[in-house]
Amino acid sequence: MEQTLLEVSIQDSGYEQNNKIIEDLSFSISRGEIVGLIGPNGAGKSTTIKTILGLLESTNSKIDFINNHTYAYIPERPVFYDELTLWEHLDLAAGVMGIEDSQFNERAMKLVNLFHMEKAIHKLPSTFSKGMQQKVMLITAFLIKPDIYIIDEPFVGLDPMAMQDFLTLIDNEKERGAGILMCTHVLDTAEKVCDRFLLVASGRLKAEGNLDYIRAEAKLPEAALLQCFNQIVQGESSNE
């Protein structure tokens, strides 16, 4: 079984041909690995994710989901169909990913119960609160059990209980062998969860590696990720 699930090689990418947001950004994600994509606002994190998802036209990049590995995307702003209920969204996700009915029902009910959404299954997610909408996104992603998770700001809007459940599920998926790319600003949680970090600033990869490596890069051997992050980003901007 191959170890690398996703190979990303971005020469440049952006929303317009003459306006590149990110340049020279390459990395890979392996089985059972949680990679944190971190960086200040406007650094190019969302552009990186959109490039991976193939949503940008103006891009010179090679995105290889090796052997057509499946993926689930959890966006920062939940997206839904106004006309479909929660259950219909789950059914749709399972349907297009080719999951059998028996597996679907069991998995879906388990996740719905875990996130305490039983009473809302026949309601429209577009009318839910932000936190509930985020839970629906998580349920949908965990339902299809993909090889790769691409998660944009997963902690926004979640209550502490849901956050704990989410982290447990992520851990289980890691054990199963899934690769996870997690884009977040919540650095103290990322520090505990992620195995490796990609620090992006001004559209370029500034540092890549585990916490020890990031600490060494920042020349702060005992520091938390947040301090290292500030050191590297500020160091870069003062050099510029």
Binding site: L55, V79, L84, T85, E88, L92, G95, M97
Partner: protein, 381 residues
């Protein structure tokens, strides 16, 4: 300051709507469509003053009143309030009140001019065919202007009703009751005592003024005002978005699930990847009132054209054009449905997307086209 806020927002609004207009009507459309239409329309209007067209024969005067009455139910009073106003502006009550007063006056004045223009367009018929005098036409105009204002005021109160059923019931009730009163009263007053139109008109003005002034001083209507404002501001933009598959539509505010396949019931019990996409599209189409309305609109306008236009060859051309447009419209709705990021992992080039599209376009268009086609056959035979 009181008026400068209104002026700023009014200018901003004009700029915004002008931008929307320009995005649809570019110079070419203006030159080749608008100017010729204006010239041809103007020419016909000029002719109407000297010679009444034959197609007017048989139209009762009430028909023109129905036109005016429908116009009275068009539009709403806007407030130019914005959501962000709750941060600071709401603390300055006098500014909000002044803004609401100015916008009310602006919209009532604007719609009054609208009634005047409509009466002006109908004037050749009112004078030369229905033989009304200047005074009678003036009285009728005044009555409909005051009726327009009264309805605009009532609409604001109808907007405050939370229950959709209750709101619908009262709207229909008002529409029917006011319509019945208007047609019988205006016809009767023209025959018996024209000045009654002036008197009832004044009462309508008074009612509107009292009710609307009361509402202007209320700040508790802020949320509703902003909601209506957003809806009205985007009214024309939404019409453009309807035909753009790439633009995200405005979020739906409905709170209840649909009755169509309720409680998440499946359409296909035994499903596969393609059927999942088909089910998605069918549910989206039949649960979205806007899509249903558009389909009905395209089909009803075509049917009306098939009935009204006499030459058979033009009827057939219209019918073939209708087939192309309907199928194109279904494809646009399908592409828009598939562009939702919820199914981002079904890639654009995935064969099931294309297969589902073929199936869906035929499934939806064939029955609708058959009905319109049947009507065409009945008309010809």
């Amino acid at each position: 300051m009181n008026n400068s806020l209104f002026k700023t927002r009014f200018r901003k609004e004009i700029g915004y709507q002008w931008g929307v207009f320009k995005s649809v009507v570019d110079r070419t459309i203006f030159l080749y469509l608008f100017i010729p239409a204006l010239a041809i329309g103007g020419y016909h209007y000029y002719i109407w003053w000297s010679e009444i067209p034959s197609w007017v024969n048989g139209f009762p005067l009430t028909f023109l009143f129905i036109l005016l009455y429908f116009f009275c139910w068009e539009g709403r009073i806007r407030t130019f309030l914005e959501e962000a106003d709750q941060l600071f502006l709401l603390q300055k009550r006098y500014l909000v009140v002044a803004l609401k007063k100015s916008t009310r006056n602006l919209y009532v004045l604007g719609y009054s001019v609208g009634v005047l223009i409509l009466v002006g367009i109908l004037a050749p018929f009112l004078f030369n065919y229905y033989n009304l005098s200047w005074l009678e036409i003036l009285m009728v105009t005044f009555y409909f202007i005051s009726l327009k204002a009264l309805i605009l005021g009532w609409k604001q109160y109808l907007d405050d009703i939370v229950s959709a059923w209750k709101k619908g019931f009262f709207t229909v009730l008002l529409f029917v009751a006011l319509g019945a009163f208007t047609f019988s009263f205006v016809t009767w007053a023209l025959e018996q005592f024209t000045f009654l139109l002036l008197m009832i008109g004044l009462i309508q003005w008074y009612l509107f003024w009292v009710k609307s002034s009361k509402r202007i001083y209320k700040l508790t209507t802020f949320s509703k005002d902003v909601e209506v404002e957003n809806m009205l501001k985007l009214k024309y933009v939404r019409n453009i978005f309807v035909f753009s598959e790439y633009v995200e539509k405005t979020p739906n505010q409905k709170k209840r699930s649909s009755l169509f396949y309720r409680n998440s019931k499946r359409i296909y019990n035994k499903r596969n990847r393609q059927k999942s996409l088909q089910e998605l599209f069918i549910k989206v189409l039949f649960r979205n009132k806007m899509y249903l309305f558009q389909c009905l609109q395209i089909s009803s306008i075509t049917t009306a054209a098939l009935i009204v236009i006499p030459p058979i060859w033009i009827k057939c051309m219209i019918f073939f054009g209708y087939i192309i447009i309907l199928r194109m419209w279904i494809k646009i709705v399908y592409k828009r449905t598939m562009s939702n990021h919820f199914i981002v992992n079904v890639r654009k080039d995935d064969i099931i997307r294309i297969q589902a599209e073929h199936y869906i376009v035929n499934l939806i268009s064939l029955p609708v086209i058959s009905i319109v086609g049947l009507i065409l056959i009945l008309i010809i035979v």
